[in-house]
Structures are given as C-alpha cells and as structure tokens.
Amino acid sequence: MAEYSAFSLLKNALTGNKDWKPAWRKPDPKASYDVIVIGGGGHGLSTAYYLAKEHGITNVAVLEKGWLGSGNVGRNTTAVRSNYLLPQNTRFYEHSMKLWENLSHDLNYNVMFSQRGCLNLAHTPAQLDDYARRGNAMRHLGVDAELMSVDRIKRLVPALDVSGSARFPVLGGLMQPRAGTARHDAVAWGYARGADRRGVDIIENCEVTGFLRDGGRITGVTTTRGEIRAKKVALAVAGSTGQVMQLAGISHMPIESHVLQAFVSESLKPVVDTVLTFGMGHFYISQSDKGGLVYGGDLDGYNSYAQRGSLPIVDEVMSEMVALFPGLARVRMLRSWGGLCDMTMDGSPIIAAGPLPGMYLNCGWCYGGFKATPASGWCFAYTIAKDEPHEFNAPFTLDRFYRGLIIDDKGQGATPRLH
C-alpha cells in the first residue's frame, strides 16, 4: 500500500485523485483467529495495531457492531493530557502522551495532534494549593506542569473573564504545556489502516451475540455474521461493558454506564488556543481547527445506555461557558450528542487478563478514554500477548476493588457519577 506523503498527495492531485486505495479492507470473518478483539473503537483498533506491530500477532480480528469508529472514539471532546495526581495514573497517561507525540509518524497518518496545552483554572486559594500539589506530583514523575498566574492566563486566553467581578474569579491555574487535542476520527482511521496493513481483519457490522465456551474457558464468540473461534478473546467495548459481560454470564461489575454529552458551536475565528477547564464546575473547552468550539461538562448523572442526554445538563454547560466567557453568550450551538461511559467505582480503568479463562478485559474508561487510546491498546496488547500485565497497567486490575487497592484520583469514593 502506498505511503501517504506530500509526494503521493501531489502525484494523486495531478492524476485526478483516481488512484487512492481504501485505507482498510472489508474482509469476511474467518472461522478462527489467534485473537479476537471485540470493539472497533479507538482502544480495540489500537490493541490490534500493537498486537501486530509490537508482538507479531497478526492473525487477529476486530469485531465492530456498527461502523468503524461510530462509538466513543468519535464522540469525545478530543483532549489529550497526562495531568494526574496518583503515580499509577501519571505513569500510564504519560506513556500515552509519549505515544501521542510520535503517533502521526508511527501510523503514517496525520492525527492532527496539537500540543496546545491544557489549563485547569483555580478559583479559590485552596484549589490553587491543590493544583500546586498535583503539579509537583506530576513534575516528580517527569511530567511537565506549571502554575500560571492570572496575568499569564489573561495573556494566554484574552477572551476569558479574569476580572474580580467574574461569577467565580480566576486566581490562577495549572498548565500542562504538552497536553492538547487530536482529531479523533483520524485516530480511529489511522489505527485501522495500520492494523489492516499488518494483516488484521477489521470486520464491521458484526455484533457479538454470545460467547463460545469449552468448559469454563472462552473459546470464541457467536456473532450476527456467524461463529468465530479464537484462542484469546479481548473486550474493548467501554460504554457497553455491562451488556457484553452479561453475554458471558457475568451479571455484576464495578461499573455503571452513564451518558456524557458534548457540544460544538458554530465556527468562530480563533478565540481559545488551549484546552481550558473550569474549576468551579465541570466544564472544558477547546477550539477545533475548523473554528467550532468543542466543549462539554458533567455526566447526566444516572445510569443510561441511550446515546443522548437531557436538557438540564445542556443548560448547566452553557451557564458554565458563559460564566467563563461572557463574550460567547450569543454564540450558537451547532450540534450536541451523547456517548456512553463505563464509570468505575474509583474513576480509573481496567486493563487485565480475565475475569474468565481465555478472556481479556479493557474497560472502565469513565469519560477520559480518548487520551488513553495509544497506551490502552499498547498495554492491552502486551497483556494479551504475554498473559501478564505490563508495569504500566499492572495496577489497573478488576479485583483491585476487592483488595483495597483502588486508584481514586479524585478521592470521590464508590459513587461513579461523581468521578
């Protein structure tokens, strides 16, 4: 397959763009594979890609119930950051950040990774102290972080209301300069193309309807396109983990499914050139290259498998945006949508072998899964290939909840809607 390059772009432009090949094949499922990855979103595709690239396991199928990338990989607000407090999270997400920094070259696919920084605003002295603590924890592990004064914030984001008369006056902020955004669709497509060209079968419109077992061991899946056997079956279906695990006979998980909404405004000239988060509510905003403001807020707050939200959160998110940016009050919202989030009991994910023999589990991404896409697939592939976790994902087990080893970055306790 031809490499994408400036030269190939020019060549195809001169020949009428008639010679581009599809980025991935549309194969029919084979009777069996070494590994089946359930879920053709970012995490499933990156898992397949790293299985092939890092571990030489290419007899792999990715089963996607809809179209490739039709779930959460295309429903997030595209922020990428590694600004966590707890070392388990920091190490994992910083590994992801390093993979992001080389991802476009690695995939030969422009994922438009833009390190425009991520700034968390502080509105009380206690919050600023807390950010200093988190920033120090990050720097201690070699991650970039700096406290910003109001003057610097004002220069960085002139549209922001930093006056003393703001509803919640800004007292400072914590900046991670290497954080940023990426184009989420390109991430799915780039990983799909990279996996496909290494021999992975990406099978769309193939919904898993049950699991095949030999004794207690998972030996394959039944799907809407027939039975498919595999030595190893890996789940990367965050958002729908509860549903798929019930097919395997596991009724209870330390997870609730919630809906998170996201919004895009009409296109504006550049007004916010970083990823900005509000400290007195749950609100985050960035601006796409096309000019639309991309923003979101809190979960709707109750269990939901509907990929749509309700109006109270729309109202809250808009109020928060206007509290920060009074000048954006008359900007029109163009689109809104909802995505399903696996909310775990401690706000951290699960990447582990099990819980059944032959099964591997990648889930519980809460509403922070997009930034984890590279490291999630990288660590999951390692775990599947070697039947043991890498040190980066070793803390993210399923049984940590029952062994007193929770990783609760926010210190919120077992109330998933608050993570």
Binding site: S310, L356, D399, Y402
Partner: protein, 97 residues
C-alpha cells in the same frame, strides 16, 4: 425526564438526586462478611433495560424513592417510597473473580 413523586406529583428530574442501583443489599452493620461488603460497595447490576434504582426528591419533599426506569428509553415505569426496606433478588456469589 419527569419523575412522579408519591407526595408531590410529577416533577422535573432536576429536583431529584440519583442514589444509584437499588438492587444492592447492605449487610448487617456488624457483619464481617467481606465478600458481602465488597459486593454492596462496588458491584452493580447495570442493566440495559429496566433498572431498579433509588432517587431522593432532594429539591422537594426529600423522600427517598424506589424508581424503576428504563436505561435505554429513560421511561419511568414506577415510583414508590423506598421505606420498608428492600429484599434483593440478586444476592449472589458469582459474577466476579
């Protein structure tokens, strides 16, 4: 989403606070059964469909309610006072390893 409070009648969802899965069974306070406590604190049924849950009418009469709601359509199927305790039909030992 409207929830019909048995005291106050149909009210907007913003008046209510979600208290989560109503299927969980709290062990007796003196219980030393760690599996039962772990299940109570961490395990959720999380169905796609009808879900038995607890809500509080925190912006109204403050009563705790038992609500059956569909998690796919958000349709409220029934509401009742939560008082009187709850016998879980889902007391189980399997489901996690």
């Amino acid at each position: 989403m409207l929830i019909t409070c048995p005291y106050c009648g149909p009210r907007d969802v913003i008046e209510f606070t979600y208290q989560g899965d109503g299927n969980r069974e709290r062990p007796q306070p003196a219980s030393q059964n760690l599996d039962a406590w772990n299940a109570y604190v961490y395990d959720r049924l999380n169905p796609a469909g009808d879900h038995n849950e607890i809500w509080q009418h925190s912006g109204g009469c403050r009563a705790h309610l038992r609500v059956v709601r569909n998690t796919i359509t958000h349709e409220i199927l029934s509401t009742a006072f939560a008082r009187g305790g709850h016998k879980s039909a889902d007391n189980r030992a399997e489901g996690r390893s």
